[in-house]
Symmetry: C2
Subunit: 108 residues, 2 copies
Amino acid sequence: MNQSIICPRFEKAISLLSQRWTALVIYQLLSGPQRFGTIQSSIAISGRVLSERLKDLEQQGIVKRDVIPETPVRIEYSLTEKGFSLEPILKEIEKWSQSWVETERIEK
Amino acid sequence: MNQSIICPRFEKAISLLSQRWTALVIYQLLSGPQRFGTIQSSIAISGRVLSERLKDLEQQGIVKRDVIPETPVRIEYSLTEKGFSLEPILKEIEKWSQSWVETERIEK
DNA sequence: ATAATAACTTACATAAAGTAACTAAACAAA
DNA sequence: TTTGTTTAGTTACTTTATGTAAGTTATTAT
């Protein structure tokens, strides 16, 4: 048996990025701070899950949540340094998708 | 609303890589052709899901399945060119994990 | 004939995600 | 003062995905 143990850091990174929507939320925030509703309408995520993901990401130090006392109150989500450090990964995925993913007309 | 539409190719790539275990299966195959049981024991995936993933990946042209008529019959899974082209993404994730993921002693 | 092994598959249980209605806070309008 | 708006969520319930463990098929060994 090829028991080449996979590095736990790598596994942890993979499990972060394999969570549904997580990569898209981060990608979306790469273009600047955004509020809940904006993120939600830019990707097809439900409020229930977006709320969950943002809490996770905040706790992992990838996203920062700022309350802006305007009226009505605005809440802005943005990437931390750790969050921005994921950019090269997302750019690689983007690059790959340009060369290897075909667009289909009738897509589920 | 910031309706910056996300590129469908990119979304498709993300949804591929966000499927649980998919990235790890590909990562595992980067080190060479492997059989079902080897993949299964190298990561914590269940047979049920591994079987499902391999079929998906084969259908997407990322993995190739070869029947080797030894005795008992051996089935080898390997990456296609498209599969290998994902390597830079996985290497970026690996790199990121080295700088940003801390190992914890007591991990779930 | 019986047993062993690899590669799955099936049936059932649990966890994650989707849906839609609801809540709280902070005003604005009537 | 009551009614309504908007944002940012939360809650209850349904559907889908994944985990678990037992079963199947094929091929060879005993």
